[in-house]
Amino acid sequence: MKTANSWIDRHARLLFPLPAILAIVVLIVAPVVTNFVLSLYDYFVGGRAFFVGLENYQRAATDPRVWNGIKNTFYFTFTAVPLQLLVGIGIAVLFNRDFPGKGLARTIILLPMVATPVAIALIWALMFNPSLGVLNYFLETLGLERSLWVAQSSLAIPSLVLVDTWQWSPMIALILLAAMQGVPTEHYEAARIDGASGWQSFWHITIPGIRSAIVVALILRAVDALKTFDIIYVITEGGPGTASETLNVLAFKTGFQFFHAGYAATLLIFLMFLVLGIAVLLNAVRRRTT
């Protein structure tokens, strides 16, 4: 018993993480490797697999639906993330003071990001409804024209961006709020004595003070926005037509509606490299800013 224990103690740095490492290899590494293999085959679920080499990749490179998916993925991500960064900064500035009910307010803005995405998506789908939805009622009340929201191709992605911004701006706000608390108050006092306006101290003290937190928030949001699935699939299923079909949704349909597993694997490899590539790129930016 004693020798067994000392053996464990000597190898603790390997034995303690071993179960988790095994789980990662089985649950995560194995499927990624499988995808690489699958991508070399023409394979429909339940059918026979034919080795086709790089044909899936060639096909993907010239598939207009794939390019549409890439375009939509970027359109969604690079509208949603900057928008929610702006809104997030705004909320953080507003909340970065003492006011009655501050604790409750902070709890309230947590709700959009923790509530079950399917439930949120369904409620937004009801609110978007062109004839019965409450959003059109608001537009009319304000004297504006009714909108088709997600039912119109050109508005599908902007509408989804709206949902995503509602859902995730609070997270950016809370990240930045935590960073703002780390900016020394003496700096603000010194600026006030020097006669700086609120706007000037925001630009010259707050923003530089929270710059690395901004980049961290951007990385986290960009990575998650690129792979957004729940709200898109539930609200539009990628439609109308393919107007809001992101790469993620296209890969899902390819795999689980058309059951074209080989081709889906090819798309997934591309999506994986896209997401990880952007994460690495943004992380390099983060290192340069800190």
Binding site: L94, V118, M127, I175
Partner: protein, 289 residues
């Protein structure tokens, strides 16, 4: 500005104007805060209203704001749609995947914290960053070949992909905060590494473990993608059941609202318990709560 001008306002006038300006600014800020909160809450408010309205009121062209609330929708959802079964399925999978996630994740997080195994931490972070759908096609094929589609096993294993990295990353920062002296004192008293971990480290980390467990539970509860493909009539969890609501012909608005409320309520309650940890969890420890 030297203030020598003859017709300059008296100091008391300046002060009064400054106070008035400050008041306007304060009111403006409170108003903006209120607007933010109303926008954040509105979809939830609408969800609850929808769930309490009759179908007639729900399909009115002009939204009905004042009405006699009815619990009919809840009764329908629970009685006619097996909602309790779906809830049970969600609960089983979330509890199992959280439990296994703790057993696997706690020792790993301790090891990463104590032995500075940054490579392993990075590997787990990459697993979190990679789109979950990447893992889904191979897992679907594997479970299909093994006849494990529509089993708790398939759902639990895939939900582990979501929960375990979360647990590890939260617990790393927690274990790093436990003073090493306490552990070494235990070693001097003859404790083994496992003994010290179980009897000294874990009890000191209870708040972190609770937070990590609840977060992992919430993430499993909310999980949609894996469950959509791998569940079936025997194991369908609530998000998939609710999603299926809209696929079956006519939309029952009230039922949808009631289901959305029922699925969200446990999450909101759990969130209130661990709100300090939510952002830490969502940012994989990049931001301390």
């Amino acid at each position: 500005m030297s203030g020598i001008a003859t017709n300059a306002p008296s100091p008391s006038q300046v002060a009064a104007r400054a106070r008035r300006l400050k008041l306007v600014k304060t009111v403006g800020i409170y108003l903006l805060i209120a607007v933010v909160l109303v926008i954040m809450l509105f979809p939830f408010y609408w969800m609850i209203l929808t769930s309490l309205r009759s179908q007639v009121d729900n399909v009115s062209r002009v939204p009905v704001w004042v009405f006699t609330p009815t619990l009919e929708n809840y009764q329908n959802v629970i009685a006619r749609n097996n909602f309790l079964t779906f809830t049970w399925n969600s609960f089983v999978v979330a509890a199992l995947s959280t439990g296994i996630g703790l057993v696997l994740g706690l020792p790993a997080a301790y090891s990463i914290a104590r032995f500075k195994q940054d490579g392993l931490a990075l590997a787990i972070l990459i697993a979190r960053l990679t789109p979950y759908i990447t893992y889904l096609v191979p897992w679907y094929l594997a479970f299909r070949a093994l006849g494990l589609i529509d089993t708790y096993l398939a759902l639990t294993l895939t939900h582990l992909i979501v929960g375990m990295p979360l647990i590890v990353w939260i617990m790393i920062s927690f274990f790093e905060g436990v003073p090493q002296d306490l552990e070494e004192a235990a070693f001097v008293d003859g404790a083994t590494r496992i003994g010290a971990f179980m009897r000294v480290i874990l009890p000191l980390s209870t708040p972190g473990i609770v937070a990590a467990s609840i977060l992992a539970f919430i993430f499993s509860w909310n999980q949609f993608l894996f469950s959509l493909v791998l569940s079936g009539p025997n194991t369908r969890p609530v998000p998939v059941a609710v999603f299926n609501f809209i696929s079956y012909g006519q939309i029952d608005f009230g039922g949808l609202g009631a289901a959305a409320v029922l699925i969200t309520l446990p999450v909101v309650i759990l969130t209130l318990i661990i709100q300090r940890w939510i952002v830490t969890g969502l940012t994989m420890g990049a931001v301390k709560g």
